[in-house]
């Protein structure tokens, strides 16, 4: 496999996801396809030559030249602001990828899979969920998705529709729960993590993605509960 290089990309679709996030589908001629969980680098070049690069997880996987990203606007984030508020279909940028062989799911692995997402950390995990459903192979999946409120959940309708049979979904709300919600509202603690995840004796492969503080807390809770640290893979989006 040759090293990834910068490739021209064009925005094919830009769809609002939440009040502060957008789903972008990029047309990338020659995109070699990607595994579920991989990311890419985006490079934007201003008219004066100023360049900015950021990494974004890919929500899609498999062959094809249409690559889906979902971008959450970061406070004071120049690139995320541009991608969420400004860019329009037809606009050009560059991408480099696919990148990352660590935070990927192998459809040939029959292990149960535990996904733990905080906020926009859902993006690479959704790629894994979609691949699991589309491929019909792989072990059973559980997703624990922590959001501030229902309105802050990216891909909320799609995730609710995916939940059935081999796919279990547990929502956690840190600020406000939807009407009729019987559960607790607040940050995930070890008790909530243990209740919504595979027990250690099932030897799941676990993928935790979200803001740094969320990932540290969730991964620590899983390891303290007896999960093998080598089977708890993490990807931190930064911030607290």
């Amino acid at each position: 496999m040759s090293a990834p290089r910068w490739m021209p990309a064009r925005v094919a679709e830009a769809v609002p996801s939440t009040a502060h996030a957008r789903v972008l589908r990029l047309a990338v001629p020659g995109w070699p396809g990607n595994l579920p969980g991989q990311h890419l680098d985006v490079r934007l070049t201003a008219e004066d030559g100023y360049q900015a690069e950021r990494s974004y997880s890919i929500a899609s996987s498999g062959p094809g030249e249409l690559v889906e990203l979902a971008v959450d606007e970061v406070v004071d984030g120049e690139v995320s602001h541009y991608l969420v508020r400004v860019v329009e279909p037809g606009d050009a940028m560059e991408v480099k990828g696919p990148l990352g062989a660590y935070f990927v799911w192998d459809a040939g692995d029959p292990s149960p899979v535990q996904l733990v997402a905080g906020g926009s950390g859902i993006v690479p995990l959704l790629a894994m969920l979609r691949a699991r459903v589309a491929g019909g192979v792989g072990g059973p999946f559980r997703l624990l998705y922590s959001v501030r409120s229902a309105a802050d959940a990216m891909y909320r309708d799609e995730i609710d529709a995916l939940a059935s049979g081999d796919i279990e979904v547990t929502w956690a709300y840190t600020r406000a729960a939807p009407d009729g919600w019987g559960g607790r509202v607040g940050r995930l603690g070890p008790t909530e993590v243990a209740a919504a995840t595979w027990p250690p004796d099932q030897k799941p492969l676990t993928y935790v993605c979200g803001p740094t503080g969320f990932v540290e807390a969730a991964a620590d809770a899983l390891v303290a509960a007896g999960h093998d640290p080598l089977r708890v893979r993490t990807e931190r989006f930064g911030g607290r």
Binding site: M1, A3, A52, L99, G100, A101, Y102, F103, R233, T234, E235
Partner: protein, 96 residues
């Protein structure tokens, strides 16, 4: 034509950098996130994806998650990338 060494216990052969191209290709073509980094300070060994990275537009400081020692720094000058190794004991391809 270079000679083959005399076997596992034979004398070392002195050649040039071209001779290690084949062996290093496996490491240099491996996706960086799965390359195993061994910390020269505390001895911890882990995939690069798990390291602590402090990043801005010009540099990425990569630290050991165990002892916080700087493992290496990646500096970017336009299209060029410079790697400055600080406390790496070894880099190795991931376990099969």
């Amino acid at each position: 034509m270079r000679q083959h060494p005399e076997g596992p216990r034979g004398p070392a052969e002195v050649v040039d950098g071209n001779a290690i191209a084949g062996s290093l290709r496996a490491l240099l073509e491996t996706d960086a996130t799965v390359v195993v980094v061994e910390c020269a300070h505390c001895g911890a060994s882990a995939p690069m994806a798990t390291a602590v990275v402090e990043v801005d537009e010009r540099a990425a400081i990569v630290r050991c998650r165990g002892c916080t020692r700087t493992l290496f720094t990646v500096l970017r000058h336009d299209e060029r990338v410079e790697l400055r190794i600080a406390a790496v004991a070894s880099l190795s391809t991931p376990p099969a």
